[in-house]
Symmetry: C3
Subunit: 169 residues, 3 copies
């Protein structure tokens, strides 16, 4: 992540402790914020949302509290929840913002699984889910057929793009 | 805890940072998970739930975020909230699971007190509370008569088993 | 803070890790609590509430989870949310306590901004907000006219006292 940030000079928008950690690695263009706050960007607005998880840095030090991102642009809005459990706080997003889609973890074990992710989509008010955080460790091997079927039964569209694939939403 | 885990070879199901700490102490059979995730066990399913508290390890290092446990078995389900404040997130449990009982802190000061615990029982949808986390420090000395009376007034059954006692629920 | 505590011998009511940090600095009269717990004081009752933020100590060590304070006295009650995002948990306060006013962050970026603070006032059930946590860093420069107008439109009174000013509420 540090290498990518330095190579691209991209703005790093992150919770305060994570942003400070990047700044200590001499990354420039860091917006070190905290939950409920929003940063203005060239493409719109990025708001830090609550996530229910833990947050340690690679050296084991405290990384603040986990966060997701609500991204608002002229072309549409989306919610990138980060690694999280289902939370009532997600209803705040559904009450405030029209989402085109949500990127939600569905792998279970380290995060919510597909059933809670479908409720999360209901809470934030979207019918379109990009499922992430599965298949990368043995305990989060995804049963794709079951997940897709559960999404269909809930009236939601579940997208499971391949790594590095580009999709139109 | 480390001694018990080694002596019994029991599976340790814990939030990620706590589980990793156990693994560093050479405890085997650790399931190091995070909130919203569930582990399958011989007796059923254990899901990590949100708790509102702090989480430090004995050496003062970061222990992830605090968690409770939702335990589902063929013989019935129960909720062990861990040390926590009352939380709206508890409603998620009431909406998803039929509980036989809930183990809730009632000592106040370090956790919720009896009044919030009675609301918590309402949120998770149970009429039966096993009260814990009281009497072990001066600020959490329990007024048993008052707690029992408050539970009765709320239409809840409050169990206060003695240490090492075995009870039928 | 340590100097003020020592000079005044005031009781320090704080989340457990923060309170322990004060005790390590030889501050006396510390009440090191955790969320959902309440301390009895000469003037009433102080309850630790949930805040959505991070909590690091000056040396970067883990400061527990962030908290606010619900202060109940014979002369009236108020809520000091601390640095926080908007949270559904605030509704618990509105359901339990009659508030005279709430002290809420309105600066955005590191905390909620004015729009979420107005919703927070609705959640906790007060019409009177003392706005704090703005103007102290470039990203949280407040547009006072806009904030005041937003509060008026929401039917709320927004107080923005000067530093060290004494106000009657």
């Amino acid at each position: 992540m540090v290498d990518i940030a330095k190579r691209t000079s991209a703005t790093v928008i992150a919770p305060f402790e994570v942003g400070s950690w990047f700044e200590n690695k001499r990354v420039e263009n860091v917006q070190a914020m905290n939950h409920g706050g929003a940063a203005r960007t060239a493409f719109g607005r990025v708001k830090l949302t609550v996530a229910i998880h833990s947050s340690s840095m690679p050296d084991g030090s405290y990384g603040g509290n986990p966060a997701g991102f609500l991204i608002e642009t002229n072309e549409g809005n989306f919610y990138y929840s980060g690694e999280t459990a289902l939370s009532y706080e997600m209803k705040l997003i559904g009450e405030q913002t029209n989402l085109g889609f949500a990127v939600l973890p569905i792998g279970d074990f380290f995060t919510m699984g597909i059933d809670d992710a479908l409720r999360a989509a209901q809470f934030v008010g979207t019918g379109k889910i990009v499922g992430v955080h599965y298949d990368t460790f043995p305990p989060i091997k995804l049963d794709r057929a079951a997940a897709t079927k559960a999404a269909e039964a809930a009236g939601k569209e579940l997208l499971l793009p391949k790594i590095a694939a580009t999709i139109e939403i």
